[in-house]
């Protein structure tokens, strides 16, 4: 036993004050600074909303909302200008449609495989590859659509079928590239949702002799459905907001068509082409850009809120 230690410690001076020795302003300042950092997000959202709404209100002073939302002629830079937004909305949605045709089976297939079939070793190999795919910059997808997908479509497409033959810009090329881009979103969130389904449910079915396919499709998939739907909605939102791919591969021709091999203009492409740095504030074209941007913002906002609510619901069930 070391008996020497105690006597050598400095005696506790009594009584020391219980009141604060200093006002500690530093703590309050820091609290304020940190709160400001956190509130910045609210400020940013407010700024975005203001920046979109103010010119839009001015825009809708000149153009009626029904003309805008339901008009089929988009030519804001022409003389005379027309402001029917349907062609570019349909352009965005067409591209998104083809993206989903590709991404949903591939993404869900990958998710089911990773969740139900893959051994841990295979998972370790495949998941990083999906992460890499998720990290590829959008300009790479856009360029890929132009130099690879488009020529392949041109080779395969049967002549004048559905508005062909496909030229250098087409909805399908952009759609497939965006589809590849959003596969990781669908795959990883769906796989999370499937993994969260309790093992007991699967084991009960296996114990009765069900095959993996049956268990995956009839037990796991329905149980994870809200998470899966959330992932798809999130992917849609991402596809709608994508700019570079449509700018490079889908073109800038705002024509209202449902043909996959024609060139159309998406909303983001319109903004990207028109919003160069030198357009004067307050000009008609300026206001038009922000009106389209507001529409885009509202569409993606609705999707995001919906998917967040779905994700919260499936998490709540299991946690």
């Amino acid at each position: 036993m070391e008996a020497t230690g105690i006597a050598a410690t400095s005696p506790a001076a009594l009584p020391r004050r219980l009141q604060a020795q200093s006002p500690r302003y530093g703590e309050k300042v820091i609290y304020g600074l940190l709160a400001a950092c956190a509130v910045l997000s609210v400020v940013t959202t407010t700024a975005i909303v203001i920046s979109l709404i103010v010119p839009s209100i001015q825009f809708f002073g000149d153009v009626s909302i029904t003309d805008f939302l339901f008009g089929t002629d988009w030519g804001p830079s022409f003389e005379p200008a027309s402001f029917g937004v349907l062609p570019i909305v349909v352009g965005t949605l067409s591209v998104t449609f083809w993206a989903l045709i590709f991404a949903i089976p591939i993404g869900l297939g990958a998710a089911v495989y990773l969740s139900e079939y893959a051994s841990p070793r295979v998972r370790k190999l495949i998941k990083p590859v999906l992460e890499i795919l998720a990290g590829v910059p959008t300009i790479a997808f856009g360029y890929f659509a132009l130099i690879f997908i488009t020529p392949q479509i041109q080779k395969i497409w049967p002549g004048h079928f559905l508005g062909g033959p496909p030229l250098i810009f087409s909805v399908l090329a952009g759609g497939l590239a965006i589809g590849l881009m959003i596969v990781p979103i669908i795959a990883s969130i769906s796989e999370d949702a499937m993994s969260a389904v309790p093992r007991g449910l699967r084991e009960g079915a296996y114990a009765l002799g069900a095959t993996k396919a049956k268990v995956a499709t009839r037990v796991v998939f329905p149980a994870a459905l809200s998470g899966i739907v959330a992932s798809v909605i999130l992917a849609i939102s991402r596809a709608i907001g994508e700019t570079m791919v449509v700018l490079i591969a889908v073109g800038n021709t705002p024509q209202l068509t449902f043909s996959p091999v024609k060139s159309v203009q998406a909303m983001t492409a319109f903004i990207g082409t028109t919003a160069t740095g030198d357009i004067p504030t307050g000009s008609t074209i300026y206001k038009t850009i922000f009106a389209v941007a507001l529409l885009l913002f509202l569409m993606t906002l609705a999707m995001n809120l919906l998917s967040v609510r779905l994700v919260r619901r499936y998490r709540q069930v299991y946690e």
Binding site: G26, I48, L133, T138, L201, A205, A210, A213, A275
Partner: protein, 311 residues
């Protein structure tokens, strides 16, 4: 992975109905048909994964083939030029570096500050906290080009009136990737156990002293990972820079306060050029960008795995 499952919830009912259906089928189907169906199903799934992987490989491969001739040192030592033989990414790389320097300078205090506030000072149920969290979640889903318009509307022009310079681009990109840093930092801070905080407070340390000297140092690996992932995302973004005047074909070397250019912007300009020589350059540039991002992301993940504190 598995947790308590409430058998009365709607989700559970769906799953249980599925299980019942399976049972009924299993007890009535011949085994041979099942095996065949199972094999086909498994093959289709594997095909799905294969297609995704193939897509990535073809993407990289095609660029490799197209850009092979330009994958040399000239790519990074030559400035951009209207003559494709003399063009390179040097000034774009320098531009990206300047932008990222400013981005890191803003991203770290803002992102970590917000995360610290939300985790340490916030009352979990207060409406302010929930409002902030909802906002962060929404901002993460806003299309990147809208951030560009935000930069155009408020930063480049009134009220900040900075013009179309490096700082403007940096501020815009910071706002874009801020949610990534906030999320990663919050997770890292949350992982520090309460016992450490209690031990520090019980000694008479103040809340900020505890955060600064115990919580944050222990969270650094997770925070660093988040910052690196955010930066790599910011490096690859082109759309937000377009409304900020990125469309111009820049050949000079940018500095901290000059007009800017960045790697994806120059590559985009090459893509738009009609001459086939620029196509090879674009392919090489795309490969360089992909390689850079993959290296950064892998490094970030490695960093977190290596230095993660096990409590």
């Amino acid at each position: 992975m598995t947790a308590e499952f409430d058998p009365r919830s709607a989700r559970a009912q769906v799953a249980i109905a599925g299980a019942k259906g399976v049972t009924a089928e299993v007890l009535s189907t011949q085994p041979r048909k099942d095996v065949i169906r199972n094999t086909i199903f498994a093959s289709l799934l594997f095909l799905a994964i294969a297609i995704a992987l193939a897509g990535l490989c073809v993407l990289v491969g095609k660029n490799l083939v197209d850009g092979w001739s330009r994958l040399n040192l000239d790519l990074i030592t030559q400035n951009n030029s209207s003559n494709p033989a003399e063009a390179g990414l040097r000034n774009a790389i320098i531009g990206t570096l300047w932008i990222m320097l400013f981005v890191i300078g803003m991203l770290v205090p803002l992102g970590v500050g917000a995360a610290v506030f939300l985790e340490e000072y916030g009352n979990r149920n207060s409406r302010l906290i929930r409002l902030i969290e909802v906002n962060i979640q929404n901002l993460a889903g806003v299309p990147s080009i809208i951030y560009g318009l935000l930069g155009l509307a408020f930063i480049a022009r009134a009220p900040l009136n900075l013009g179309y310079v490096v700082l403007t681009a940096a501020m815009t990109l910071t706002l874009l990737v801020l949610p990534v840093v906030i999320l990663a930092s919050r997770e890292a801070i949350r992982a520090v156990p309460a016992s450490i905080r209690e031990g520090s407070l019980a000694l008479g340390a103040t809340k900020w002293q505890t955060i600064r000297r115990q919580v944050l140092p222990a969270s650094i690996p997770g925070i660093a990972t988040g910052v690196i992932l955010a930066i790599s995302r910011a490096i690859g973004e082109t759309a937000p820079l377009i409304p900020l005047g990125a469309a111009t074909f820049v050949t000079f070397t940018p500095g901290p306060f000059t007009d800017f250019t960045a790697m994806p912007v120059t590559i985009f300009n090459w893509v738009k050029q009609p001459q086939p020589e620029f196509q090879a350059l674009a392919a090489a540039g795309v490969l360089l960008l992909i390689a850079l991002l993959v290296v950064m992301n892998s490094f970030a993940i490695w960093l977190r795995n290596r230095y993660e504190q096990t409590w």
